[in-house]
């Protein structure tokens, strides 16, 4: 019973066109293509998705506000989670920057930066996207490592959920039925 449950991929979901991708959780899969399929089954059982991304979990460089405060002034090079980034080229490339702006919020795409390492991408992201607020946590990863659903996948991957209104609680009129029953009682 010690067989592997396969590598983990973080899943990002866009609910509607024009909205940023948001973290929804992770899936385990043998490769990125299977991860995308699993992500669809786990996170899109209802019609609320126009695009899905999966990213190898170990490629995500993560820092909370608390960690950044602790590291402050130390001028640390890339360390901790995400440091063993696979295929890190050391060349300039595009990184996606996510942050969690509200305490009860979730990691949300705030923009892209050019950088040579995750640590540099994070520094650049903080400088450009923190604004007046102080986000609670940040994630960065190279855009190159995203496997995404394509526009032509929408019909087969996401639209079938529209034909299953019974998956929504609004399809059941239990409150109306209970009111009728109460009204009819003497």
């Amino acid at each position: 019973m010690n067989d592997t449950q396969l590598p983990r991929f973080q899943v990002f979901l866009q609910e509607q066109e024009g909205q940023p991708h948001q973290d929804v959780g992770s899936v385990h899969a043998s490769d990125a293509e299977m991860a995308l399929q699993n992500a669809r089954d786990v996170f899109v059982r209802r019609p609320e998705c126009t695009s899905l991304w999966v990213v190898p979990a170990e490629a995500i460089y993560s820092r909370t506000a608390e960690e950044l405060a602790k590291e402050g002034g130390e001028k640390k090079e890339a360390g901790g989670e995400g440091a063993e980034n696979p295929g890190l080229s050391g060349e300039t490339e595009i990184y996606c920057v996510f942050s969690k702006a509200k305490s009860a919020g979730t990691q949300t795409l705030v923009g892209e930066v050019q950088a040579t390492s995750p640590a540099e991408a994070l520094g650049e992201g903080i400088a450009r996207f923190a604004g007046g607020k102080a986000p609670f946590a940040w994630w960065v990863f190279p855009a190159r490592l995203i496997t995404r659903s394509q526009p032509q996948d929408i019909e087969s991957m996401f639209l079938p959920a529209l034909d299953k209104p019974f998956r929504l609680s609004t399809d059941f009129h239990t409150q109306t039925a209970m009111r009728e029953i109460r009204d009819r009682k003497p």
Binding site: G25, S26, S30, S62, F172, I181
Partner: protein, 318 residues
Amino acid sequence: MYGATVDPVEQVNEDEKLREFEARIGRGEKIEPGDWMPEEYRRQLIRMISQHAHSEIVGMLPEGAWITRAPSLRRKMILLAKVQDEAGHGQYLYHAAETLGASREEMLEALLAGRAKYSSIFNYPTLNWTDVGVIGYLVDFAAILNQTMLARCSYGPYSRAMVRICAEENFHKKQGQDIVIQMARGTPRQKAMVQDAINRWWWPTLMMFGPNDSDSPNTPILMRWGIKTRTNDQLRQAFVNQVVPELHDLGLSVPDPDLSFDETSGDWQFGEIDWDEFWRVVKGQGPCNKERMEARRSAHTDGAWVREALAAYAARQR
């Protein structure tokens, strides 16, 4: 850590960190992976979240048994969708536990080896179709009360998983209530069927909320750290107060001779839970414990070739 060799400087640092951590909880902030947290907070969360995940996975079995016997195509599609949701909820929860450093392999191994706990309610059998309605209506509503509380808990990934789950659980509860209403308005035989299901599921559902507060050693620390905000007994009372009048409106009753309405508190007071039965089922002596574990183990073993094939394909792609 508790030995005589504790470095005093280290200890002061730990106390300082704990104070800061509890101040964050006090301000209502969510703790995220990477933030400092007491080992006991991590341990309690891994325990709770993995048990919760196992419950979702084992919870597919009692209802899954009725998919092939659903009375109409619509009811079959609804039940399939619900059981699929439970599988998804298990995945959301295993993920939340993984953010605390628990591995999927360890959690699964603990379940399959019989070391992990899961909700005892799933160790009872589903004997007739109305059991599907009563599970949705009572069991899922009890779960919603607990999960609505946990959606506000102090650990970010658990709280976010709960928000997603609660939205979907509302469908589970309402499809169950819909079946119960339909049967209660049906023929005398149908009404007798649904009453029989309620009689069997009522007490196990009340047990779902866990031991009385006086016998729940984990509750104080869980409340102090914002993991729980209501006690087992408070949640149980909220459940009874909501469900009893609805069942009475439907012409149904609950199997409790001590049930009475208390005018002063506004609470429905109920009889003593059979805690011997509760502990018997928790410890593996329930009607279906063995069957459930065998079903999980054979699903895992029967799926081994799929995992092997996936790994072989992935290796060839590289």
